[in-house]
């Protein structure tokens, strides 16, 4: 057995509430990190995972304090050391790679200076050696032309580049232990896969131990040797990565894995009821009791201990784990969705839609110059059938939300038109749309914190569309509101609550109820599950599907998460830089991706399965705007043909599966190449 470098013993961290109670957010954590291993700590927001990682550096965030226990790194008792002593360890023996490098790099200092600072503190190199080392580090994290990068300020780099700089800076002191706090969250799918691959390479290359903190089991699965699952400030499961992912023996982990949508699996993920308790609200008994389907009477009263099972090398905090151990059926629980063939009955047609954000400058208006030959969104043709769920997917900057806004009338189209019910063109101007058209199209937003007015009760929020479209009042209005709440599975007593008194999932349910209050024909869903925890996301997806089946609503579903799209959509349209690349039935697009971009995108998806590795086919270059001419994907295409792709707009081709792609390469040929790989 290899040597232990970080020992966490009975660690509890908490804060003082306004009323003076001590509330713990880490409860009695005990674990070890061994030399050379990578440990993944996974948990939903509020599980205490970041606090644990920071404590491993002897750092407790302002407002929090250590309630008991210790963190021992080699022979240093970190939480008892003063700052002077810790400065010698931080950055030199233990280094941190932060979540959002864009905010973790000091804005007024150049990249080179910030790395140099770490080198000066933690090495004995002279100036020339340091300069060489900076280039070396930037090279190691695969940044192009290190000399120029070193002279830049953080804001001049893209998100992926900033994250790489943070990795390079952490390596400057040649640490024995690297702590990574959600290092890929917030990055685009392809960038995320590249950064993870880099981290894996560094782990192997330097032999550093790593603690990888994330809410994303997909990312954890790619890097970890061992996994710690946290829930409500406690470790509920700890063991070898493969076992945990393939055979989770804690009901929470089991449910969590189940609630993650997967590319390989059509249909909706299984959902867990409720949400993680807020710190300080817990009574006695197991903290997972309320949500657990194995719960018994004794779970309500007694809190289980973390029990080490020798033959599995796994620790678990559950009285009934044996039930899951016996459960040999590794079958995934997922509600199958009837992917019925939608009848061709078009409800919305987008014809040659172009949208431009660029404002025409006064001078150009006078000179009558046409400035924007290269609009943000261009040539979008999509016909949407009644009752289907069509998804728009793409990375940031793909124009997917922009298209949604112009369907809702919030953004004017520059060219083309949007036809509703085959008979009337929706006005470009929101004010000119009539009431029934407005009612027919409703929106649900990404972040319910922003989409619900914080000063209105749930009752007032839901009353608005009912009053506006149906003129309801009095008893009728109230009954309707209760009815709506029931539909989204919220009780009547939610009426008097304010949004701040609801959990994230509950808020999003209210937002869903508000959209359905209008009895709409089409609902536009803008990243509706992105702000939610995985277990809550599954429940919201299931709810949306149920409501759709009940009311025959059409969904236009925008998401960056390809697995979520796989789970809910009938048809999918892949966008890059505001241009359509591929469109077709979901099952075919996912099974036989034809367009090179779809291939790149799907290859980068991280699955919570150690056996499925992402395929990196293209560089993760970030492009600010689409190319002036030719194919939109020319800058990153791994199969680029040459001048033809650079100069000519590719034609539409329709494959045997019903996928339509826009590419110069013959679709048959593409399928062959991809199957060959």
């Amino acid at each position: 057995m290899s040597e232990i470098i970080q020992k966490v013993k009975n660690l509890s961290v908490g804060f003082k509430s306004q009323k003076g109670h001590e509330i713990s957010i880490l409860k009695n954590i005990t674990t070890n990190i061994k030399k050379g291993e990578t440990v993944g700590i996974v948990g939903e927001s509020g599980s205490g995972k970041s606090t644990l990682a920071l404590a491993m550096m002897g750092y407790v965030k302002q407002g929090l304090f250590k309630m008991g226990g210790e963190c021992i790194f080699n022979s240093f008792n970190l939480l008892n050391m003063n700052n002077r002593e810790l400065e010698k360890i931080r950055g030199r023996k233990i280094a941190m790679i932060p979540q959002n490098a864009g905010q973790a790099l000091t804005p007024n200092l150049k990249i080179g200076y910030q790395i140099d600072e770490a080198l000066k503190l933690h090495t004995n190199f002279n100036k020339n050696e340091r300069e060489k080392k900076i280039s070396e580090l930037l090279n190691k994290v695969r940044l192009p032309s290190p000399e120029t990068i070193a002279l830049r300020y953080p804001h001049e780099l893209s998100g992926g580049q900033q994250q790489r700089v943070a990795v390079g800076m952490a390596l400057a002191g040649n640490p024995d232990l690297l702590l990574l706090d959600e290092p890929t969250t917030g990055l685009d799918v392809t960038t995320q896969a590249h950064v993870l691959e880099l981290l894996n390479f560094i782990a192997k290359d330097t032999g550093t131990s790593m603690v990888y903190v994330s809410h994303d089991l997909g990312a954890i699965a790619q890097v970890s040797d061992r996994i710690i699952v946290m829930y409500s400030g406690e470790i509920v499961l700890e063991g070898p990565a493969r076992d945990i992912l393939k055979r989770p023996i804690h009901p929470y982990t089991y449910g969590l894995l189940n609630s993650i949508p997967k590319l390989s699996l059509a249909g909706l993920p299984g959902s867990m009821p409720g949400s993680q308790p807020q710190p300080g609200t817990k009574k006695e008994g197991c903290s997972f009791y309320d949500r657990c389907n194995l719960a018994e009477e004794k779970c309500k009263k007694n809190s289980p201990d973390l029990e080490y099972i020798n033959e599995l090398k796994t620790s678990v905090r559950c009285f009934n784990y044996k039930k899951l151990l016996k459960d040999k059926s590794k079958k995934q629980l997922s509600t199958s969705r009837n992917e019925k063939n939608i009848k061709i009955n078009e409800i919305l047609n987008l014809t040659d839609v172009s949208i431009s954000y660029a404002k025409q400058k006064l001078l150009d208006q006078i000179l009558n110059k046409i400035t924007d030959t290269n609009p943000t969104v261009k040539d979008i043709n999509i016909d949407i059938n009644k009752g289907e769920t069509i998804a728009l997917v793409g990375e940031s900057g793909s124009g997917k939300s922009t298209i949604l806004k112009s369907i809702a009338g919030l953004l004017r189209t520059k060219e083309g038109n949007i036809k509703f019910n085959q008979d009337r063109i929706l006005s470009n101007d929101l004010k000119k749309r009539n009431s029934s058209d407005l009612r027919a199209i409703q929106l649900i937003f990404q972040n319910p914190d922003e989409s619900l007015n914080p000063n209105h009760t749930v009752e007032e929020i839901l009353a608005q569309p009912l009053k506006l479209y149906f003129g309801l009042s009095g008893e009728k209005l109230k009954n309707n509101i209760i009815d709506l709440l029931e539909k989204v599975r919220l009780g009547k007593f939610y009426m008097t609550r304010y949004p701040r008194q609801l959990s994230g999932g509950e808020k999003q349910r209210v937002a869903v109820a508000r959209a359905f209050a209008a009895k709409p024909d089409i609902i536009l869903c803008d990243e509706v599950t992105s702000a939610l925890d995985v277990s809550v996301q599954a429940a919201v997806l299931n709810l949306l599907q149920k409501l759709k089946e009940d009311f025959g609503t059409t969904y236009i579903f925008v998401s960056h998460d390809l697995a979520v799209v796989r789970a809910i959509s009938d048809r999918v349209a892949v966008l890059y830089q505001g241009r359509l690349c591929e469109i077709g039935p979901s099952k075919n697009v996912y099974k036989f991706p034809s367009h090179p971009y779809t291939e790149v995108l799907l290859g980068a998806v991280l699955e919570p399965d150690p056996d499925i590795k992402p395929k990196l086919v293209a560089e993760d270059i970030v492009e600010d705007k689409p190319p002036e001419k030719g194919c939109c994907f020319q800058g990153r295409c791994p199969r680029i043909l040459g001048d033809k792709c650079k100069n000519e707009t590719p034609p539409w081709q329709i494959g045997d599966n019903g996928n339509a792609i826009r590419c110069h390469i013959n679709i048959k040929e593409l399928e062959n190449i991809q199957n060959g790989n």
Partner: protein
């Protein structure tokens, strides 16, 4: 019947909210002190005519510059008037004028600010330029000019103060509106097709109200400061009405002989300003608004 009930509920909730805010304010020592001082001064303003032991304008040359005694608690001034009487009555005019002045400032500043934040574009640019221009003329110069040409009556002072102290509120209201209209719940209401008026009334005002009210409370203390300065310079309240600024100005020349005539009004005015300030700070904190980074413009 049903509607009436709803209205009652709504009203109740407003009272409930106000009492909640007051309780939160009073739960911190600084807020409690501030509120008590303010309440004390307001009570004094109402009750002082009945509490005053002497006539505030009774001149008696034989009693000139008497030191504090059991008869004249705070002594007498250069005209032999009782300083205690004049001190407890000295805040009435200032409080009344600045209170109504603040209301006017709140009203026009808030409405114009919300309007500018909403329409944006060229109209907003032009209005803000003009507001900026007004800001760049020192308030004291403008106030003095107006007062010297139009007189110092309440009808002049209240609107003039209201106008000059409303400029800052325009900025705050505009910035708050700007923040709010970018939020998704406004987008959602727009997409549903609510009228502009209904969006302003239902969605925007409830969300900018707090910021504007806090700013108004702060303006009140500054306006009091400004008004007292005017009085001090001889451009505010006209004698013989008792007023702290004026009393300080009159007694200043003789303070080497009779410091009491200066100290009493100084304590009165300072305590009121500090009281309003602490209250405004506690008010801001109770509503969850951090206003310490804002410039006093």
């Amino acid at each position: 019947m049903e509607i009436n009930k709803a209205k009652v509920n709504k009203k109740k909730s407003i009272f409930k909210k106000i009492s909640e805010v007051l309780l939160t304010m009073a739960s911190k020592p600084s807020g409690f002190i501030g509120l008590s001082i303010l309440v004390f001064h307001i009570l004094l303003a109402f009750l002082s005519p009945f509490l005053a032991p002497y006539d505030f304008k009774a001149i008696d040359p034989s009693l000139m510059l008497q030191a504090p005694s059991s008869e004249y608690w705070f002594g007498t001034d250069s005209l032999g008037r009782d300083v205690f009487t004049r001190t407890i009555m000295g805040g009435r005019t200032a409080l009344t004028i600045t209170f109504f002045g603040s209301l006017i400032a709140l009203l026009w500043g808030g409405l114009l600010g919300i309007f500018c934040g909403l329409v944006g574009g060229k109209i907003d640019d032009v209005v803000m330029r003009v507001v900026d221009a007004f800001l760049s003329i020192p308030w004291i110069l403008a106030m003095l000019l107006i007062v010297s040409l139009l007189g110092t009556s309440t009808q002049v002072l209240i609107p003039a103060l209201g106008f000059f102290y409303g400029k800052g509120i325009v900025r705050v209201a505009r910035a708050a509106t700007h923040d709010v209209i970018a939020k998704d719940f406004i987008v959602s209401a727009r997409a549903r097709g609510h009228s502009n008026l209904s969006i302003i009334w239902n969605e925007i005002i409830p969300n900018v109200r707090d910021a504007i009210l806090v700013e108004g409370a702060m303006r009140w203390s500054w306006m009091l400061l400004g008004f007292s300065s005017l009085s001090f310079l001889g451009f505010g309240v006209s004698p013989p009405t008792p007023d702290w600024g004026l009393m300080i100005s009159n007694a200043r020349g003789l303070m080497s002989f009779a410091y009491w005539a200066v100290i009493a009004p100084i304590v009165g005015l300072s305590s009121l300003i500090i009281g309003i300030n602490l209250t405004a700070d506690a008010f801001a904190k109770a509503l969850g608004i951090d206003r310490s980074t804002k410039a006093p413009v």
